[in-house]
């Protein structure tokens, strides 16, 4: 195995750097609210990785991914709301007893598991309908767009069950033996989960399964003629992506100690798209670095010029699309690729020269060349 | 029309009295060492050719040698990777098809590409629409001119293009090309999928058009008999290069056997 250090792609080094930065961040003496925000950003990294699997690797652009994220968040949110009987927003609506279908959520682990399985099941349901039909990719994007809009309206409308516009507050950081985890402890829990998800996705994307996903993105019709059923692969990828999105919601809500409809809307879904587009899609690193850059830019910019930051974000996105379509990390990977293959590309040019040179001289001798062959 | 002396039938901006004999042999179309690729495959590699005003040229060769690609590069649908194309002495290498059409090149593609949802009349008007500065009256005169060559079109003016037979679509496509009063007309395999009897009077009509409208004709065709009745000069392509050219009268049987037959 000549897996020398030089062979490791450059972006994996950047991943390690990013995770080291995340791990030492609380020790760098930043104010607590900065550390709290970084905790949310790390949860968002898991969310961005889940969408990169779907969009970056498999080419399925979802504009409603935040709905799956929200399913995770709301499950754990409801869990902590119903710990001691019907919460205020229910009693106000005249529901004094916790509805039966919410009862199982009272138990933290059950809520966590439901927060993972619900988005996965929903992804399989949606995937079954869309991927099995002969419909082009753009319809998937439109359906998920509609999904995000309707989910937001639905949750906002169910005042009695989801506390509507003001969302669910008081989400604790997974109390173990009675006491919720300290902020710093929870920070490292989220960081650990993020690293685990990252390692899992490295395995997934390097496996043949991941390569099939990439080939589906590159040329889905061709893949069928190699014996693969792309619909099955896409449903499984969408399910995994849904699972991880649910997980990121389950990590995010306690870090934020609340979850509102803003976090599951079209804006939230498209915001994570921008993070991946700026970072670069289809290599995981882009999702990590993109989320770190854009989330922090959003916070720092909106502190300085609250009204302008969205304008600046729009302009940045336009610049990236026109001048760096494959994103920051994509650009770096391309540079490494062209260095690495410079040698073998010379071989192509050489082989091309000798091909054309050969065909040059054989052009003069076209006659004898032709006959000598048919005789054989 | 006095034999040998053609007065432009309808006033193009400068009425020109031209007699066939002394038509200056200036080259209407010149291709200098053009290379045309389709994706990564090099279809036309280093082809040079020139077509004079009033020429009747047929481009021949087996399937897949690059005939259609060559025509498409002349009208501008396919960019030439290198080399240059001159039409009436101005460089059109980089100009889009719409400008070349305005310059006087008309194109009848393989398969005719009639717009199915448009009626016969609308298809014809489309041919002139981008060339009309004048009033409607001018369009009707042109349509009359086309009906004179293709009377069958007049009977089906309001039928949708999509429901016409192959032969009728062919006549509509040529009529549509004439609506822009071109000085050069490119036809890509006009006899493809047309019954033999229609092919015969297509040849006569094309000859009439050439004589009366003084249009230079460049035609891609594999039907030898049809080609001989239309063209005076020929060019044979193989693997994207010209392997033989000259007057159609000089086209010997073994050239046909070598480059055209199965």
């Amino acid at each position: 195995m000549e897996k020398t250090l030089k062979k490791i792609p450059i972006n994996r080094w950047i991943d390690m750097l990013a995770f080291v930065f995340i791990l030492i961040f609380p020790l760098l003496g930043f104010k607590q609210f900065r550390v709290d925000f970084m905790c949310q950003v790390v949860a968002y990294i898991i969310f961005a990785i889940s969408l990169d699997l779907l969009w970056g690797y498999t080419g399925l652009m979802s504009l409603g991914h935040a709905v799956l994220f929200g399913m995770g968040g709301y499950m754990i949110g409801i869990c902590f709301q119903i710990q001691d009987g019907a919460p205020a927003f229910m009693t106000r609506e005249g529901i004094n007893e916790v509805p039966s279908f919410f009862l199982p959520l009272k138990n933290e682990t059950v809520a966590f598991i439901v927060g993972l399985l619900l988005p996965t099941a929903f992804a399989v349901f949606l995937g079954f309908f869309i991927f099995k039909s002969k419909v082009s990719g753009v319809f998937f994007t439109i359906i998920t767009l509609a999904l995000a809009q309707i989910a937001k309206d639905f949750v906002a409308n169910q005042q009695a069950y989801t506390n509507g516009f003001n969302g669910l507050q008081g989400i604790l950081r997974y109390p173990v033996s009675g006491e919720p985890l300290s902020k710093i402890a929870y920070y490292y829990v989220v960081a650990a989960v993020a690293i685990l998800v990252y390692v899992f996705c490295i395995f997934l994307t390097r496996s043949r399964f991941g390569k099939v996903a990439v080939s589906i993105r590159e040329n889905e019709s061709r893949v069928k003629f190699l014996g693969y059923n792309p619909a099955k692969f896409k449903i499984v990828i969408f399910a995994i992506s849904g699972f991880l999105a649910g997980l990121s919601g389950l990590m995010y809500a306690p870090a934020m100690s609340s979850i509102t409809i803003e976090e599951i809307s079209v804006t939230a879904s498209t915001f994570v798209l921008i993070c991946i587009a700026v970072g670069g899609r289809g290599n995981l690193t882009g999702a990590i670095v993109g989320t770190l850059l854009i989330q922090w830019a959003k916070v720092l910019l909106s502190e300085q010029c609250a009204n302008y930051w969205q304008l600046i974000l729009g302009v940045i996105l336009l610049l990236i699309i026109f001048f760096m379509p494959q994103g920051i990390i994509g650009k770096i990977i391309n540079v490494q690729y062209s260095i690495k293959t410079r040698k073998s590309k010379e071989k192509i040019l050489e082989s091309e020269e000798n091909i054309s040179s050969v065909s040059l001289n054989n052009k003069q001798g076209d006659e004898e060349y032709g006959n000598s062959f048919t005789g054989g | 029309m006095i034999n040998g002396e053609v007065i432009k039938m309808f006033g193009r901006n400068n009425p020109v009295i031209v007699s066939e004999e002394d038509s200056s042999a200036k080259n209407m179309l010149e291709l200098h060492n053009i290379h045309v690729n389709y994706g990564k495959s090099k279809i036309i590699n280093g082809l040079s050719m020139s077509v004079e005003q009033g020429d009747k040229l047929v481009i021949m060769g087996r399937n897949g040698v690059g005939k259609t690609t060559l025509i498409k590069s002349i009208i501008g649908l396919l960019p030439s990777a290198s080399g240059s194309i001159y039409f009436c002495n101005n460089d059109v290498t980089k100009t889009p098809p719409s400008e070349r059409s305005a310059g006087g090149i008309a194109y009848v593609p393989q398969g005719r590409e009639i717009l199915p949802d448009f009626t016969v009349e609308e298809n014809l008007e489309l041919g002139a629409m981008a060339h009309m500065k004048g009033s409607d009256q001018n369009i009707t005169k042109r349509k009359e001119m086309v009906y004179d060559y293709f009377p069958v079109l007049k009977e089906h003016l309001n039928r949708k293009g999509g429901v016409l037979s192959g032969g009728q679509q062919q006549q509509l496509a040529i009529g549509r090309a004439l609506m822009s009063k071109p000085s050069m007309i490119l036809l890509d395999e006009p006899t493809d999928g047309i019954q033999p009897n229609v092919v015969a009077d297509l040849a006569n009509t094309l000859n009439r058009i050439r004589k009366e409208l003084f249009v230079t004709v460049v035609i891609v065709e594999q039907n030898l008999k049809f080609a001989f009745r239309i063209a005076e000069k020929y060019v044979i392509l193989q693997k994207g290069e010209i392997v033989s050219s000259g007057l159609t009268t000089e086209l010997t049987d073994d050239i046909v056997k070598k480059y055209l037959s199965v």
Binding site: V214, Y228, N229, T341, I355 | K40, N223, V262
Partner: protein
Amino acid sequence: MATALLEVKNLSVEFSGFKAINNVNLKIEEGEVRVLIGPNGAGKSTIADLITGKTKPTAGSVFFKGVDITGKSPDEIAGKYKIGRKFQGPNVFDNMTVYRNIEIALSGYTTVWKSLFYRRTTEIKKKIKALLEQIRLYEIRDVMATELSHGQRQWLEIGMVIAQNPSLIILDEPTAGMTAEETFKTGEMIKELLGEHTVIVVEHDMDFVRQIAQTVTVLHQGRVLAEGTFEEIEKDPQVIQVYLKDD
């Protein structure tokens, strides 16, 4: 007489009124090299589409090793029945390296489950290396497919079809857009294939057909016009007439 490897029985397909394939019968024996020729629009590629399941026929049926595979999905025909297809314009995975294009085409790991637990064993590596050498792309195996020359992309796709180790290979105009030299090399490559696989080649280039053909089937307007050795076809008046179109 053993059942033919592939048998097409009165196959037809109609696209909104136009009969692209009109009652075609074909019989291909194991190990044979059959070349389909015919002028443009004769239906050569449509036949390939019908066999590989890309298009569904309106009448007739396709039998492979005696089993009726008419109308089955492309991935089942390719995966279960092992029919490999090379498309006209090279149809490869652009932003994947040459090595990965071949590896993804390897047969036997096409279900989700198997693809998760596939290991690139040394035995597989040897197989891929041999294949890459056969298609003369071993030195540039880590270059992206987009950067290859046209001829090399055609060879890459031929390599991908071989990697599927199919029992029947369908090559759709493998020499389209190639220089004379590349065409000759492709002919050599395909002749190397002939031993282990049955090959159907859809082709225009007559020199190339002469180079590889055993039996030739001539199609014209969706019908089989003639069938026989290349010499017979060359002299057949009907074929010459169709090709010179002086009907």
